[in-house]
Symmetry: C2
Subunit: 253 residues, 2 copies
């Protein structure tokens, strides 16, 4: 993240939030997903707010910059493109986006400052707030239980933003630890396994040998084992068939 | 949602959660996005939990069914495909998915019961928990501030699940309230506007008339006005040019 250009990361605008806990939780999830520009419009309990600091889990120290404004107009003044989040249709003539589309709209304005507004806990954004927005961002909530926690609403947006920007970087660390075995290694493992099963009298009756072998091979192929896993399993076959250490048996011939 | 087949909606499995508040907040955001199967493994503060009920905002009454299990193995027993959420690479040989891909993997198992595990607040899932999963689900968190609140982690998944299933249904309600004006209506509006501007001496000097007209037309076309909005604006032009009621002026000729 440190190398990324933060200039066009969207501002998160909380409009008249009531609970400090939600402001702090919003700041925490912003930090989780690399967002830093938090704007708090006329918070009910004033600012700074101890509950916000506690729930932020250190997000303000990490780098989330919270600015407080008395009015929404002041909080939006330097932004050129703003989305309003709402679960309720407003009957307004604005484009309506899901999270992915909304982020596309924000990113396409790469040369201006952009932001997303979130309304207060009880009733969300007022219509007059939404009227200041260029577009509406909405989530596919269940109509019978549609009221999201404020910080959850911020979190869904922040994740979707990060998913569209830092996805690649974050996932590199999860690259597998070993190389997948090639077919030759698999086939030699199969032959080793089947050979020992044969000695153990597994393939009975004889006419079922082919289908039993195929079923086993299908099951193992699907596992996409690494070279190391193949080696480990071959060791397991050997141990089962012959025993190890003091348990080792001598095979004749 | 009510008509949807809930049989294959994923179970949300909270492994040894500490705070009732987070269990309740997780239940709330599950309900927001239509998920009902909550499994709580060995919760620190027992069950039922008053703080969970408070933070759920009614999600349990709405339909989220919380089952409590003593062990993870018991909580997973009827599931056939399970993902484990983690922000830390585990060096395990499992497929790693982002939210969208993970949901694809879950949905492709449409004939079996599936679930997603979330670890406890302090340290997430243990490696032995992750070992029981078919795949890893990870979010593109900022590496320098990667610890998500438990309920936020559930919320990001629940949103992504809903976005892939009930998107269409939820957004229909947001259809615009009016029909977009066609070009003919726009052109007649432009002519009306320009005619009044001309009378008012707006187009000066004369050689700038063409570019001034084009600039105005470009600005209005971009707004994608509805028929109703075009009518409203024409009323505004008329009022500005002629006045209304007692303020009305009589135009000669």
């Amino acid at each position: 993240m440190s190398e990324m250009n933060l200039q066009n990361h969207p501002a998160i605008i909380l409009v008249c939030p009531q609970m400090g806990e939600n402001i702090g939780a919003a700041a925490r999830v912003m930090a989780n997903f690399g967002l830093k520009d938090l704007r708090v419009i006329n918070p009910r309990d004033g600012w700074p707010n101890e509950k916000a600091r506690t729930m932020s889990a250190g997000a303000f120290d990490w780098g989330v910059n919270a600015q407080v404004f008395e009015t929404l107009e002041a909080g939006l003044s330097d932004l050129s493109y703003v989305l309003a989040t709402t679960a309720r249709p407003r009957g307004m003539e604005k484009p309506v986006f899901n999270a992915e589309e909304g982020i596309g709209a924000l990113k396409s304005r790469s040369d201006v400052k952009v932001g997303v507004m979130f309304g207060a806990e009880k009733a969300g954004l007022l219509n007059e707030d939404v009227a200041l927005a260029d577009g509406i961002l909405t989530y596919p909530v269940d109509r019978s239980f549609s009221s999201l926690n404020l910080a959850q609403a911020v979190g869904v947006f922040a994740h979707a933003w990060a998913a569209s920007t830092i996805e690649g970087e974050a996932r590199e660390e999860f690259a597998g630890v070993g190389e997948v075995a090639d077919r030759d290694q698999l086939v030699r493992m199969f032959e080793h396994f089947e050979d020992e099963l044969d000695r153990a009298g597994f393939f009975f009756p004889e006419e079922k040998r082919t289908v039993m072998t195929q079923n086993l091979r299908n099951a193992f192929v699907r596992a996409e084992w690494t070279q190391q896993e193949v080696q480990t399993f071959r060791g397991a076959i050997k141990a089962l068939a012959l025993g190890r250490g003091k348990a080792r048996i001598e095979r004749k011939g």
